[in-house]
């Protein structure tokens, strides 16, 4: 073993490793462009149904709630863009590597398992930003300037909220994915998370349009802070006075979920038996 290998990693080394790993992940994802584009198409098909159903609702009842049709369409398109940007492959990656036993090399990396996964998640977001561009163009053609932020302050707070939403999305995924280490199979966990996300994140409807019982549950869960919070802040639909508390709630959820995931990971790892030989 050389002296270099024993050197204690400084913050700048870790930051450089983090950035490099994010870049590598992005490059890997870009190598599978057709898969990413087809995934976008598949998600677009599913989301188009939601938008078209809402258009039909407004046709039946022009005033179904506090949002008029143009504002609702702007919300839905922005929500789809946010969802695509914050779509992280952490769970599928971990699932596959646990199944193949490759996770053994991931858990001994000097960066730490959680940080390693987060760096890859940042790589996912970088690629998603590229592929979200055509959706934004189509969205602008579809709903016009309604997609643009209400003001400079809304834009800045919306971007900050988007960044915090990343931590919430990563935190939920990182926490739930640990069940894969115990069960060795994560298809159910991942799909159940997707179902919860679909209902409670505000992807299919903002909270104000949900039935009261659903809304009462959604406000207590972190999912709304992935989509609804950044989108309503960006579009100026959230009252200015509530923006600081929404950002604080996002930060609290993000820190709690990532922290909890990190705390329980070592116990989960002790129960894990690596697959393969």
């Amino acid at each position: 073993m050389t002296a270099t290998a024993l050197r204690v990693a400084t913050f700048s080394h870790l930051a450089a490793s983090f950035a490099l790993l994010a870049e590598k992940t992005a490059r890997t994802r870009l190598a599978y462009r057709s898969a990413t584009l087809l995934a976008l198409l598949a998600n677009g098909v599913a989301y188009s149904v939601i938008v078209l159903v809402w258009v039909a609702v407004y046709r039946e009842n022009p005033n179904p709630g506090p949002l008029a049709l143009p504002a609702m369409l702007a919300y839905l398109v922005t929500a789809f863009v946010a969802s695509e940007i914050l779509s992280l492959n952490v769970d599928w990656r971990v699932l596959q590597r646990v199944r193949m036993g490759l996770i053994a090399t991931d858990v001994i990396r000097p960066l730490g398992f959680g940080t390693f996964q987060m760096a890859q998640a940042v790589g996912d977001v970088l690629v998603n930003l590229v592929f979200a561009t055509p959706i934004v163009v189509v969205g602008l053609w579809f709903v016009g300037g309604g997609l643009l932020p209400a003001s400079l302050a809304a834009a800045l707070c919306g971007l900050a909220s988007g960044a915090l939403a990343f931590f919430v999305a990563f935190g939920i995924t990182f926490l739930l994915v640990q069940a894969v280490f115990v069960l060795h199979s994560g298809y159910g966990i991942v799909t159940a998370k997707m179902a919860l996300h679909q209902v409670f994140s505000g992807l299919a409807a903002p909270l104000v349009m949900m039935p009261e019982a659903l809304r009462d549950i959604a406000v207590w869960l972190p999912f709304r802070h992935i989509i609804e919070t950044p989108v309503t802040i960006w579009l100026g639909l959230a009252p200015s006075a509530e923006v600081p508390s929404l950002l604080a709630a996002q930060a609290a959820w993000g820190a709690s979920l990532v922290g909890l995931g990190s705390v329980i990971f070592s116990s989960v790892l002790k129960k894990h038996q690596v697959q393969g030989g």
Binding site: L52, N61, Y187, L196, V199
Partner: protein
């Protein structure tokens, strides 16, 4: 007859091998139920704001929801193997399936039943039951329901086979192209009349889920005569199966093994 016995035996073995993973089965069923519940949550949200959609009442739309879930459940339980095609191609595993002295398409389809389908099928049956308790159908509907479900499963699987066969050309370790078809099935949960014309044509004639889901629903509303509710699903299923067979044969002829 001999071939049929072979396929049944193969299916039974595949089913037993999938049933070995009991935790997977339990989690899968819960997952399927949660996915259906998520879709129903959106249904609930929508009908909180409108008494009807495209002149379809909530009970009538609920029937479309239930029938779609039953179709998906039956297809996943019996003809789910097409989802594995991209992975078979990448790993060179299709060779093994092609050397059997039977037709390769049914062999691939039945070789991997998905047990979480039970969750989709049962939740769909319950949803249809609730819909029919809210808006009782004519007696004939009870006899036609199995026809609609079986035809719908064949149509859905045929669409998956046609699109999935693209894997023979664009090799990749993913099934996203088939996911687009799967997501399009979700459009059948709502009346096609609310969609733009191009999507109506796509879901009734091109990938005709609507023939087995929307057409029966429209008959229950008194819009079509009974024979349409019987003939349209069967005709669409027959056309779908014929097309799927043809596309599969053409594409499989281009197959080059990637294994060693």
């Amino acid at each position: 007859m001999k071939a049929l016995r072979f396929y049944l035996e193969l299916y039974w073995i595949a089913l037993k091998s999938r049933a070995e993973y009991r935790v997977d089965f339990a989690v899968g069923v819960v997952t399927a139920l949660s996915s259906q519940a998520a879709a129903l949550a959106f249904f609930w949200t929508v009908f909180t704001h409108a008494p009807a959609i495209g002149e379809w009442s909530s009970a009538e739309v609920l029937f479309l929801f239930g029938l779609s879930a039953m179709v998906l459940g039956l297809a996943e339980a019996t003809m789910n193997g097409i989802w594995m095609l991209p992975f078979y191609l990448v790993a060179g595993e299709l060779d093994r399936l092609l050397v059997y002295p039977v037709r390769s398409l049914p062999f691939v389809l039945i070789s991997r039943p998905e047990l979480h389908s039970l969750g989709n099928f049962v939740s769909g049956a319950i949803t249809v039951g609730v819909a029919w308790s809210l808006a009782p159908p004519p007696v004939a509907a009870y006899f036609l329901l199995p026809v609609w479900v079986v035809c719908g499963a064949f149509i859905y699987t045929s669409a998956l086979v046609v699109v999935g066969s693209l894997s023979f050309i664009t090799l990749g370790h993913h099934a996203w192209h088939m996911m687009a078809v799967h997501n399009l099935l979700a459009s059948a949960r709502y009346p096609v009349t609310i969609y733009p014309r191009w999507l109506q044509i796509l879901t009734v004639f091109v990938l005709p889920f609507g023939a087995a889901i929307f057409v029966p629903g429209n008959w229950l509303r008194g819009e079509y005569p009974a024979w349409v509710a019987l003939v349209a699903p069967i005709a669409a299923a027959a056309a779908g199966v014929g097309l799927a067979e043809r596309v599969w044969k053409t594409m499989a002829n281009r197959y080059q093994s990637s294994g060693s």
